[in-house]
C-alpha cells in the first residue's frame, strides 16, 4: 500500500476507535443486540481530537484524525474531523463482511504505525483516547509508541500547552515543550514533561471537543479518505491461559560479604524475635487483652490501660481474668 503522505510534515494525529457506546443486551435472552445507532467515538477519543487540534493550532501545523475501523464509521468520522482536522483517514480491515472493525490491539497499532510513520503522514505527535470503551486495555497507544519509536505519556488527565489556555489542570514549566498530569495508583498524580515528538493518551475530561462550524459539518461526510489495511489480520492463535502470579517486585540486594550471610540476612532466619502468642477470648476480654498488650509494649499510658480494664470488667460483669493461652495452630 501507499500510505497517505503528509502535505505538511510534522502533523499532529488523533487516533480514535469506533465502538458501541451503549451496548445493548436483549432483556429476555441476555444476548447482545446488534444496534445500528449506538456506535460512535468515546469521550476520551473526542478529547484526543480536541487536544490534537489545539496542539496543531499552537504549532501551526495540521491535525489529522485516523481510525482503524469498519466502513460504517465513515460518516461519524467525517463529523468528528469537521471540528477542525485537515483530514480524516479511515483504514478498513480489508476483510469483506467486516462491518464492525475488529483488529486486535497489536494489529491496530501496526496499521496505525504504518499510516503515521515517516513514510506515511509523518506525525510528530500522536494523541489517543486512553482506554477504549469496549473493554479495552489502553495498550494501542503504548504499542504505537513502540512501533514509532517515540516516547509515551499515557493516561493523561490534563495537558498544558503553555501560554495558550491550558487543557485540564496542568501547568507548563519552562524546560519542556508540554506538561501533562498522569494518574498513578493510590490516588497519586504525576507531572510529566512531554517532548515535542511523543505518543500521548488522554482521558475524556481533558478537553471537551469543540463544535464543528456549520460549513464544515455540512462538508463532513465528503472529507473522509478511505484506506484499505495492507495486512490481513494475523491468524488468531489460541491464547495460553496461565495461572495468575503476583507481579515481581524489585528489592535491594541483601547485605553480607558471603553467600551464607546474604541468605541469612535475606531470610531473617537468625534474628531475635518474640514467638507469637495465640489467645482465644470472648470479645470484651479480647478487647481488654489487646489494651493490656498495647500497654505492655508502651503504646498506652497506665491510666488509659486501667480505664480500659474497668470498662471491660463492667461489660462482662466480672473481674478481668487471665487469658487462656492456646497453642498456635499449625
Amino acid at each position: 500500500m501507499n500510505p497517505p503522505t503528509s502535505t505538511d510534515p510534522g502533523c499532529v494525529a488523533a487516533c480514535v476507535k469506533w465502538v458501541d457506546l451503549s451496548p445493548e443486551t436483549d432483556p429476555t435472552s441476555g444476548l447482545p443486540v446488534p444496534s445500528a445507532h449506538s456506535w460512535g467515538f468515546s469521550e476520551a477519543d473526542r478529547s484526543a481530537v480536541e487536544v490534537a487540534l489545539r496542539l496543531a493550532d499552537d504549532r501551526g501545523t495540521d491535525a489529522v484524525v485516523v481510525c482503524v475501523g469498519p466502513p460504517d464509521a465513515q460518516w461519524a468520522l467525517g463529523e468528528l474531523a469537521a471540528a477542525g482536522a485537515a483530514r480524516a483517514v479511515l483504514v478498513t480491515s480489508g476483510n469483506p463482511g467486516d462491518t464492525r472493525g475488529g483488529a486486535s490491539s497489536g494489529e491496530t497499532a501496526r496499521i496505525l504505525a504504518d499510516i503515521l510513520g515517516p513514510v506515511g503522514l509523518d506525525a510528530d505527535t500522536v494523541v489517543c483516547g486512553d482506554i477504549s470503551l469496549d473493554r479495552g486495555s489502553g495498550s494501542v497507544p503504548a504499542l504505537l509508541a513502540h512501533h514509532l519509536e517515540l516516547p509515551q505519556a499515557l493516561g493523561l488527565i490534563s495537558v498544558d500547552l503553555g501560554d495558550r489556555p491550558r487543557i485540564g489542570g496542568a501547568t507548563r514549566d519552562a524546560t519542556t515543550t508540554l506538561m501533562g498530569v498522569r494518574r498513578l495508583d493510590g490516588a497519586r498524580r504525576e507531572r510529566v514533561g512531554i517532548p515535542a515528538r511523543a505518543v500521548m493518551s488522554v482521558e475524556g475530561a481533558v478537553a471537551p471537543l469543540r463544535r464543528a462550524p456549520l460549513g464544515r459539518a455540512v462538508e463532513a461526510r465528503r472529507r473522509v479518505q478511505r484506506e484499505s489495511s495492507p495486512r490481513r489480520p494475523e491468524p488468531v492463535r489460541p491464547a495460553r491461559i496461565l495461572q495468575w502470579r503476583p507481579p515481581p517486585r524489585s528489592l535491594p540486594a541483601p547485605e553480607g560479604t558471603d553467600a551464607f550471610e546474604r541468605v541469612v540476612s535475606l531470610t531473617g532466619a537468625l534474628e531475635e524475635r518474640t514467638p507469637p502468642r495465640v489467645v482465644e477470648l470472648a470479645p470484651p476480654q479480647a478487647a481488654a487483652e489487646i489494651l493490656r498488650q498495647l500497654h505492655r509494649w508502651g503504646y498506652l499510658t497506665d491510666a488509659g490501660a486501667a480505664g480500659a480494664e474497668a470498662t471491660a470488667a463492667k461489660a462482662t460483669g466480672s473481674e478481668p481474668t487471665d487469658p487462656v493461652t492456646a497453642e498456635p495452630r499449625p
Partner: protein, 92 residues
C-alpha cells in the same frame, strides 16, 4: 408496575451541561393549576414544600407537553437542547 426509575433507565439521554428548559419557580408560586406536575411524562416537575417547583432537565423527552399546559406566561422558557444532545430513541 415497574418503578419510575427503571422506566426512565430504559431511555438514552445524551445530557448537555446546560439546561434547555428553565423554570422560573417564582412564577409557579402564583399558579393554581400546576398541570405540569401530572402531565410531564418524564415526571420532571416536583412541587417543593414551600410552594415552588423543582425542575430537572436531564431526562426530558423534549415533547413540549409542559409549555403547552403551562398557564402562567413566562414560567417555562423552553428550547431544544444543543444539536446531538438530549433524548435518543432506539426502539420507538
Amino acid at each position: 408496575m415497574i418503578s419510575f426509575e427503571r422506566r426512565m433507565d430504559s431511555v438514552e439521554f445524551r445530557i448537555h451541561s446546560e439546561a434547555h428548559i428553565v423554570v422560573d419557580d417564582t412564577i409557579c408560586r402564583d399558579c393554581s393549576v400546576r398541570g405540569c406536575i401530572t402531565a410531564c411524562p418524564a415526571d420532571l416537575f416536583v412541587p417543593t414544600s414551600d410552594g415552588g417547583i423543582l425542575f430537572n432537565y436531564e431526562q426530558c423527552f423534549e415533547c413540549g407537553t409542559c409549555y403547552l399546559v403551562c398557564n402562567e406566561e413566562g414560567a417555562i422558557s423552553w428550547n431544544y437542547p444543543e444539536g446531538g444532545h438530549g433524548v435518543v430513541f432506539h426502539s420507538s
